[in-house]
Symmetry: C2
Subunit: 173 residues, 2 copies
DNA sequence: ACACTTGTGTCCAATTCTTAGACACTTCGG
DNA sequence: CCGAAGTGTCTAAGAATTGGACACAAGTGT
């Protein structure tokens, strides 16, 4: 039941209060910002488990550029905190670009409460998963070796390890 | 100028010929399938550098379920080959789900030729990048350590390495 | 104030991993 | 047929990893 702290960033006060009411029961705390200006400072201080970020702040501008900028800024600074984007202007191109820029998910207004809760929980759960170093390594090794059509010498070279080491890593899976 | 082989999978013959004409100059070869049934076999045999996959095959069904299934099937079997999805029914939810399921990109019909070419090239370039093992490792270590609020013991535990090893890895960045 | 727990920074010696180099062998293309 | 490139294997040296240990700091509960 304890999903930690949610940080919501939206310039519409009505949205902020609505989110607070809808998600107050799910999250331990719901923090709100009506401008992304202090997002980095707030995140650094409060360590939210997830950020819900609106894409449009400049009045009349709905390209989502500003939200995208903040997404990249926050994600670069806090790669381990999942960021869910929300926008009124459903745009496939924008959604694709957001996900490629590190967004955990992308939802459109008006939102469905249950779906939003599920999306946020999923983002938190996924961010909470920790892959052991060895597994990460062996998966990557396999992928690179695949791309090299099984050429061990080139794969080892690309991976930055010696051919024998790659050999050993494949021996003990 | 040589971007290898493109595999296009679409049940509309007109689309296939159109793509062939549009992208024939960019790719060394353009293979086509009017059904995903033989996708896995074809990919295994031809080793395309990218796959362009339509989402809707069953007539009258436009939920994209079938394309999604083939996306996951192909991606699970060939994680190193990028898959670009294409659909006539622009749907943000569908696009998000596709990207989360491993799609390299998502474009909508009717498409812009230059954009499609750019997207495919990007997908190939990105898939061609190989991250050295050490860099992958250090990035992951940093992320996990961050998530543990700097608690080295827990981080080392989650990573599956000893505390001293984590210590050393941080010493020499 | 007191013990207790947890984590840090640091060392050690034993073990394991990684490396460069070498060798015979196969495969492939000119 | 030759040479280039890759494989499978080995060795010996060097580097990394491990469990264990120790003193110390910070936070816990009593």
């Amino acid at each position: 039941m304890n999903y930690g702290t949610l940080l919501v960033i939206d310039d519409n006060p009505a949205i902020l209060t609505a989110v607070k009411i809808c998600l107050g029961g799910t999250f331990e705390r719901v923090l709100t910002l009506n401008s992304p200006d202090k997002a980095l400072a707030t995140i650094a201080q409060e360590h939210p488990s997830v950020v819900l970020l609106d894409m449009n702040f400049s009045l009349g501008v709905n390209s989502g550029q500003e939200g995208m900028m903040w997404l990249t800024a926050i994600h670069r600074r806090f790669p381990d905190i999942p960021i869910v984007l929300i926008t009124a202007y459903a745009d496939v191109k924008l959604a694709v670009r957001a996900l490629k820029n590190g967004a955990a998910d992308f939802v459109t207004k008006p939102w469905d409460n249950d779906e939003l809760i599920r999306v946020l929980k999923d983002a938190i759960d996924k961010a909470g998963e920790v892959i052991p170093l060895e597994q990460l390594e062996s998966e990557h090794v396999r992928k690179v070796l695949n791309k090299c059509d099984g050429n061990m010498k080139r794969a080892a070279d690309l991976l930055g390890i010696s051919r024998q080491t790659l050999y050993n890593k494949l021996k003990t899976p």
